[in-house]
Symmetry: C2
Subunit: 505 residues, 2 copies
């Protein structure tokens, strides 16, 4: 009887196992709590230590990997509980997941009520849904399309499940890009132009999840981005804009959890995409939103019709929540600028802001187009005159001055690092560039070490339609270690990302 | 360069981590193959050793849990690859999962074509679907209901993805129960009666997955069940019937994989349930099938209307595949017989076969009802006269003789083991038994050690409607270790499974 009534105290142990975002705990098969609670592999368990607790998936261990009095934690679980590892630990059955019955009802054709979605999003944000349950929710939403009422309720529920920022001024503008093209780093330029023209633009960005660089990774090579909310507010107050990492702000945290399953499944619905975008902006306190939708065969949105459909729903939902949205369709057929990777993209951004003669023209023109729309949306230019105002702001050096001021306010501007090693990939023969595979190029840049090594990535030296000679450079790899340079080169040689007329390069 | 072109040979290592059926592999973050292939946590990877390979989910390890030249394997992965651990090991990107695009199309409303389902089932059987992908498939089938054509194609595809048995005789009869009630162990009795009456009934059964006992677990306390296909054929040839474990026969293996996600999600569609049942019987070579559908508030099927709907679809699909099916609705409000757990259920079965005066009447009557239907279905009794023939077969001892002959042919009959420890759970007060919670009772039996300890489980001493005095035994726990007896007792005390009039027992 003593086994069940007074079990040995349990201790947390960090196992150093990366299971991505899903918390996993490891208990020994002979651990008393496994017996007394009847736990089996893949059970969902609640682990509490001190004031914190988490719901995790259980793996049962039969070797000495964990002792009978230990609770082994994956990295995601350790991030939540690790600081409490010297406090008493309990492992129990979690509360039943009541909100999942609304997901079951949706699967069988019943619409979500607003309170259903509120409960589902609260549970998802708190990490109470398993991967299987998340996949079922995402699939149900895609196969039983949501009405505008449901999408609106979902968006509200997602924003309400996390923190909300509020700003004294209006308008508060924001921009978003659906589905990144490699190198499409217009945000720092757009923020600098908009803030230089007097708009309030408190921009929070993400780090890369599966891409070679997120806007926060690129900005971090130019200035600190890991600001407290208080520091961020001070920057916006003084400069009108900021360029910070949004991860610490917990804006629409359910979105970050849902992305974890949408990405490997490689599908989402327009409703979920709209809710994802608008909930983040609603939580960030935006009143006006510009959305860049690149359209192309290897981009997220493949046809103009699909982009129009998405845009219309996005305007409706954002509008119903008090956010005026404008959608801009852009060319998604090839990367933007030359650099792919944090520092290499930062160099392109600086070249455009500095009006350097060799600044990539496509990045400059795209940033001006988006800035123009944003100035019109925010009331700083008449309809059709935004692009002109953006151009003169950039050409006169006002955008550069504003960007430098923002960097100083965030903690000081710095120069992006240089890579230690380079290798040039050349055309095997003469021909014309017919297509560039965005996904393969992104993969090459990641194998070279981006974004973990900020200087790593690649520089693209050709554009679609351009004629090339045999031996002419197509792109240059940048890496900090010989191993990574080699991995990226081997992959690039075996998987040509640039297609020449009549065959591969 | 040498790192990428000639990596150190990798070695398999068993980590003893039970992840249930999902194979997981663990690579060190600094393992060369992680770099050269660009693997990240949760990537799907293909591990090959000798002639075998598997697709698994990757966990990345940053501690000394695995060395840089090791591939750590979960138990499910070790079962597949472990015997090849001294052969060269490679870890590569798996082939893209083309069949999942049909699942995506289904999500967006397109019906499955037969060749889609064939490809999906082949991939699922081969373990190429991740848990997330399985959850998406199951959810899509439930939220975009399948037509009869789709269900038929699914059933065929599931059966074709595994082994198929063929028998020289016709009819070949089989029986199945939808959603087990604790103790509902009619199968050994039904097989004995049917075979004694001259029917061919090559019965394959499963072990428990989450219940306290499967038919194979119960039978194993009476005779060997782990037969080769050749041995099984010999038993059926001589005795007309057998009672063996079907796990080694690989009949409709996709079904076993799908159950892994349907169970935690706690939903399935009629189409999936029908395909699951009929595909197994099609693969087992049945021509006639009897299906027992217990109906009750804590059973799988809760209303007669739901049972009728399921039954009609089952008859249509089975019929289209050349199997004549009959559905019998039975009482699913409380357990059947007295024992719950392998040996305890086996004792009930023996008591009925031996016509013992204390044999549980409900188990006997239910077995006779089902046997009667099966004799009619298989042409061994006229309509309405099957139950009578079953009764006389049992009463004259012919069923017992046949059962003993089957046990001998399978390797020899044995007596079920006795538990070492018992504890009686008594009524706290006087009252009448109002309801019995099947799920809680099953849980108590599992905590006591069933089915791992074959003698463990419980004996039920009351039925619904029965008056009880304070202190009267409600059920007796059976266990082989003091710890397990204690766990089961503690849980039973805290979670009354038997409800008395005016409150809990």
């Amino acid at each position: 009887m003593s086994l069940a009534s007074s079990p040995a105290p349990l201790q947390l142990r960090r196992l150093g196992i990366d299971t991505y975002q899903e918390p996993v705990v490891f208990l020994h098969a002979d651990c008393p709590v496994c017996h007394s609670e009847g736990f089996e592999a893949l059970a969902r368990v609640c682990v509490s230590a001190g004031a914190r607790s988490l719901i995790a998936t259980l793996n049962v261990v039969t070797t000495s990997l964990v002792r009978m009095d230990e609770v082994g934690l994956s990295e995601a679980a350790w991030q939540i509980l690790g600081s409490h590892h010297d406090e008493p630990v309990t492992v129990t059955h979690p509360e039943p997941l009541h909100s999942f019955s609304a997901v079951r009802a949706k699967i069988y054709g019943q619409a979500f009520a607003p309170e259903d979605l509120r409960a589902v999003m609260a549970d998802i944000s708190a990490g109470r849904y398993s991967g299987l349950e998340l996949a079922a929710f995402v699939t149900a939403c895609a196969s039983r399309p949501m009405s505008d009422d449901e999408t609106l309720a979902l968006t509200r529920a997602m924003a309400d499940a996390g923190a909300r920022l509020a700003w004294p001024e209006r308008p508060v503008v924001d921009k978003h890009c659906v589905g990144g093209l490699p190198g499409n780093r217009t945000t720092p330029i757009v923020v600098a132009i908009a803030a230089a023209c007097g708009l309030t633009i408190p921009k929070t960005s993400s780090r890369a999840i599966t891409s070679p660089a997120g806007t926060a990774d690129t900005m971090e090579t130019l200035a600190p981005v890991d600001l407290t909310l208080k520091h961020m507010r001070r920057v916006v107050e003084h400069e009108g804009g900021c360029l910070v990492w949004g991860g610490a702000m917990a804006l629409s945290p359910a979105d970050d959890v849902l992305i974890r399953v949408e990405r490997p499944l490689d599908f989402d619905s327009d409703s979920q995409l709209v809710a994802s975008i608008v909930s983040k902006k609603l939580a960030a306190g935006a009143s006006h939103l510009l959305v860049d939708v690149p359209v192309g065969p290897t981009a997220k949105i493949r046809t103009p019709a699909a982009a129009q459909h998405l845009g219309a729903q996005l305007r409706r939902i954002a509008g119903a929540l008090g956010i005026e949205a404008r959608i801009v369709l852009t060319d998604g057929t090839q990367p933007v600028g030359r650099g792919v990777g944090p520092a290499l993209e930062a160099r392109d951004v600086l070249a455009v802001l500095r009006n350097a003669p060799d600044a990539p023209a496509d990045l400059r023109e795209r940033a001006l187009l988006l800035s123009g729309h944003l100035l019109e949306l925010g009331g700083k230019a008449a309809l059709g005159q935004g692009a002109e105002r953006a151009r003169s702001t950039l050409d006169q050096g006002l955008a550069l001055r504003k960007f430098e001021a923002i960097c100083r306010a965030q903690g000081g501007q710095r120069e992006p690092p240089q890579s230690r090693l380079q290798r040039v990939i050349v055309a095997a023969r003469r021909g014309q560039v017919q297509a560039i595979d965005n996904r393969r190029l992104a993969k090459v840049a990641k194998l070279a070490g981006a974004p973990k090594s900020p200087a790593a990535g690649l520089e693209l030296q050709v554009r679609c339609g351009q004629p090339v000679e045999a031996g002419q450079p197509l792109f240059t790899l940048h890496a900090d270690s010989p191993g990574e340079l080699s991995y990226a080169g081997t992959y690039a040689d075996a998987n040509p990302a640039i297609q020449l007329s009549g065959g591969s390069a």
